[in-house]
Symmetry: C2
Subunit: 385 residues, 2 copies
C-alpha cells in the first residue's frame, strides 16, 4: 500500500439550502476541493450519502454527481453506511488510491434533509437501526440514544447537567467557523432550561439536521511533495468496524466496541497512541455519544468522560480538544456528509487554517464517524509533515 | 497491487421470496459462499443493493447483514450504483484485498423487489435515471430503453424480430440453471406474439424483477494455491466508468461509452483482447442493451449485434456465448444483486460446474454490469489457472 495525502478540501455551509439541489450542493464542495488542490480532473468519485433515494427521489449519485462536476467517464459509486457514509466514502477513496488502482480520487459527503417534512426524515433516519427489532417497537433514533443516556446516568451516577460541557464546547467552537449552522455560544443556564426532546436528551444534547456537502481530494503522498509552500497532510491511519445493528444485541450497551476496534486499528497503522492525538473530531450526534466515544477510543476511563468535559479538557486548550469547529452539535449533522466535514475540519486544523478555532500546534488529528447507534464506526488519523 | 482470487461462491434462486427477509436472502448467499470457500470468517463485507431503504425500510445494510451472518465487528458498507451495485460491491472488495488492507472480503448483492407494489418498484427503479431531467418528463426506465431501441432500429435498419435471438438464447440457457427464475425455452413465434410493454420493447425483450442474493469470497491469489483439487479462479481484469446520467446528454445515444471504457481498462489489465474471452455475462436488462453492449466491448461492429445473434454466435457453441445461465432475461434481474449473479455464473463456468449450460473449454470469462441507462458500467475478467 502506498501512502496517501489529502491534497485539497471543500465544503458548503450547513444550513437550510432550499435553493440548491443535491447535485449543486455536492458540486460546490467538489469544485472548491478541486480548486484548492489545483487539479482539474480525477479518476474516481466516491459519494457518501444516506437518504437521497427517498428525500430527493434520486439514487445512483455516483454517475449523477460525476456528470455534474465534469467528471463524466470517471469511475463513480455511492457508499452508504447510514450516518457514517461520509467516512465510508473517504475510506473507499483512501484504499483505492493506496492500492494503486486509482491516482486521483474524490470523496464527497452530501445530504439534503430540510426539503422534506421532519417526520419523513425522522422515519428515514430510523432505517439506520434494525427495522425488524427496533423500529417495529416504535423507537426513533433519539429514543434509542435516550435509553443509552439514561442507563449511563444510572450506572455511573451522573446527573443530566454533567453533560452540558459537551454542548457548550461545541457551540463555543462553532462561533468562528463560517460553515457551521450555529454561531451562538450557549450557557449552562440555557442548557438547563432547554426543551426536552426524549428525556433525558434535551435539544442542547441533540445535533441539528441540515443540508450540506464536504469533499476532499486524495492522491499518492509522493505527489504532494512537488507543491511548494503548502504543508502536506498525510492519512497515517484508518480503521473500520461494525457491531450489532440493534443495541440490545450488545453485551454492554454502554461500550462502543466498534469505536474501540476502529480506533485501535488506526492507532496501530499510524504507530501512535491516543496521547499523540492533538485534536479529535468525534461524532457528537448526542452528548451521550461524545462521552461513549471518548471512553472507547482511550481518552477517558469507563464512565468518566463527563469528568473530562467538566474539567475543560475537551476545549481547544485542553488535553484532547474535540469538536473544534462545532462538531455535529453546532456545525450541524447532514448525516451522510458529516464524516467528510470531519476530514475537512481536521485538515484545516493541521494546515493552521482554522482561524479563531485553531488548536495550537496541531500536528496529528483524528476523525471518527458513527453509523447507527454505534453499529458502524470508522476512524481516520491525519498528520501534517 | 497483489493478485486476487475468488475462493467461494453462493447464490439463492431468483424468484418471489416472500417468506424470506432481506437479511435472510443475503445471509443464505453469504453462508453458502463461505461454506464453498471453507472460510469461517472475513475481514470485510461489501453489500451491493439499490432500493432497500424504500422497499424494506432498512438502510445501513453493511452492519445489518454483517451482524446476521456472524461477522459482527468486521468492516462493512453498502455500495450503490443503481443496477450496477453488485459489480460495484465486487470491485470494492477486489480493491480492498488487492491493496493489502483486507485479507478476506465478501461481496454480496441482494435485492428484494416483490414485496412492494409494482408501481412503487417502477418508481424506485426510475431513481437510477436523472430525477430533474428525465423523471420529471414522465419517463420510466423501460420507456428510456424503448426510445433507444426505436432509434437503433431506424438508424441501422433492423426490424423488431431481429432481436428475438437474444431472448431465445437466454431462455434456452436458463433451463439448466436451478437458480434461474424461468426454465421455459421460448420460440420465435412466442416472441412475435408477446405482449408489448413500451413499444418496440415486448415482454420478451425485458428482464423480470425478482428477489435474490449472490455472493463471492475474495482472497489474495497466493492463498488459494494451498487448497488442493480445486481450480483457482483469478480476477485478472477490472474496469469501471460512468457516462452522463441522462441519455440526452450523450453525443451518441446508441454508443455505450462507459462499456467501451470499462472493458478496455479490464482488457488492458488482463493483457488480453475480446478474442480471448470464452464467455460474456452481459447486462441484457433489455434486448437493446445486449446489442449495445456487444458493440461497445468489441464483439460486433456498430449496428451489427443483431447479425451476431441471428448467426447463432451468442449461443454456448458460438464465438461469444452470452447469458450462459440465463442472463438478466431468464435468470432474472434483482437489480442490486445482478452483478454478483454474473460473477457467480462466470466462476461456475470456469470451474466447469455449469452442468447442462456448460460452455466447453471455458478458460476466460467476462462479466459486465450496467447501472442506469448506460451511465455506470463495470467489467470484470476472470480466468481459471
Amino acid at each position: 500500500m502506498r501512502p496517501v495525502a489529502v491534497l485539497g478540501i471543500g465544503q458548503t455551509k450547513v444550513e437550510e439550502q432550499w435553493e440548491k439541489s443535491l447535485r449543486e450542493l455536492a458540486g460546490d464542495a467538489i469544485l472548491a476541493a478541486m480548486q484548492d488542490a489545483g487539479v482539474e480532473t480525477a479518476d474516481a468519485l466516491y459519494v457518501g450519502n444516506m437518504m437521497s433515494g427517498s428525500a430527493s427521489h434520486q439514487q445512483h449519485l455516483g454517475s449523477y454527481i460525476a456528470d455534474w462536476v465534469g467528471l463524466r467517464f470517471a469511475e463513480a459509486a455511492r457508499v452508504e453506511a447510514a450516518c457514517s457514509s461520509g467516512a465510508a466514502a473517504f475510506r473507499s477513496a483512501l484504499i483505492a488510491v493506496s492500492s494503486g488502482e486509482v491516482d486521483v480520487a474524490i470523496a464527497v459527503g452530501v445530504e439534503k434533509m430540510t426539503d422534506s417534512p421532519t417526520e419523513e426524515i425522522t422515519a428515514q433516519l430510523a432505517t439506520a437501526a434494525d427495522a425488524d427489532w427496533e423500529l417495529d417497537m416504535g423507537l426513533s433514533f433519539v429514543a434509542l440514544n435516550a435509553l443509552a443516556m439514561r442507563r449511563y446516568m444510572e450506572q455511573y451516577k451522573w446527573d443530566k447537567i454533567s453533560f452540558a460541557p459537551f454542548s457548550i464546547n461545541s457551540h463555543a467552537n462553532a462561533v468562528h467557523n463560517p460553515y457551521a449552522r450555529f454561531h451562538e455560544p450557549i450557557t449552562e443556564e440555557q442548557f438547563r432550561k432547554a426543551t426536552m426532546v426524549a428525556e433525558p436528551i434535551c435539544i442542547m444534547d441533540a445535533s441539528p439536521m441540515g443540508d450540506g456537502a464536504a469533499a476532499a481530494i486524495l492522491v499518492p503522498a509522493e505527489r504532494v511533495r512537488s507543491i511548494p509552500g503548502r504543508p502536506r497532510i498525510r492519512v497515517i491511519g484508518s480503521g473500520a468496524a461494525t457491531d450489532s445493528i440493534a443495541i440490545h444485541g450488545r453485551r454492554n450497551p454502554l461500550w462502543l466496541r466498534a469505536a474501540e476496534l476502529s480506533a485501535k486499528a488506526a492507532y496501530a497503522q499510524a504507530g501512535i497512541t491516543p496521547r499523540d492525538i492533538d485534536l479529535f473530531e468525534l461524532h457528537d450526534a448526542f452528548s451521550i455519544m461524545a462521552a461513549l466515544s471518548l471512553e472507547a477510543t482511550g481518552f477517558a476511563e469507563r464512565g468518566q468522560a463527563p469528568r473530562l468535559a467538566l474539567d475543560g479538557e475537551i476545549r481547544p486548550t485542553g488535553s484532547i480538544p474535540i469538536c473544534t469547529l462545532g462538531g455535529l452539535k453546532a456545525r450541524g449533522h447532514p448525516v451522510g456528509a458529516t464524516g467528510m466535514y470531519q476530514i475537512v475540519e481536521v485538515t484545516r486544523q493541521l494546515r493552521g487554517e482554522a482561524g479563531g478555532s485553531q488548536v495550537p500546534d496541531a500536528r496529528i488529528g483524528m476523525a471518527q464517524n458513527i453509523g447507527g447507534s454505534g453499529s458502524n464506526i470508522i476512524a481516520h488519523i491525519l498528520q501534517v509533515d
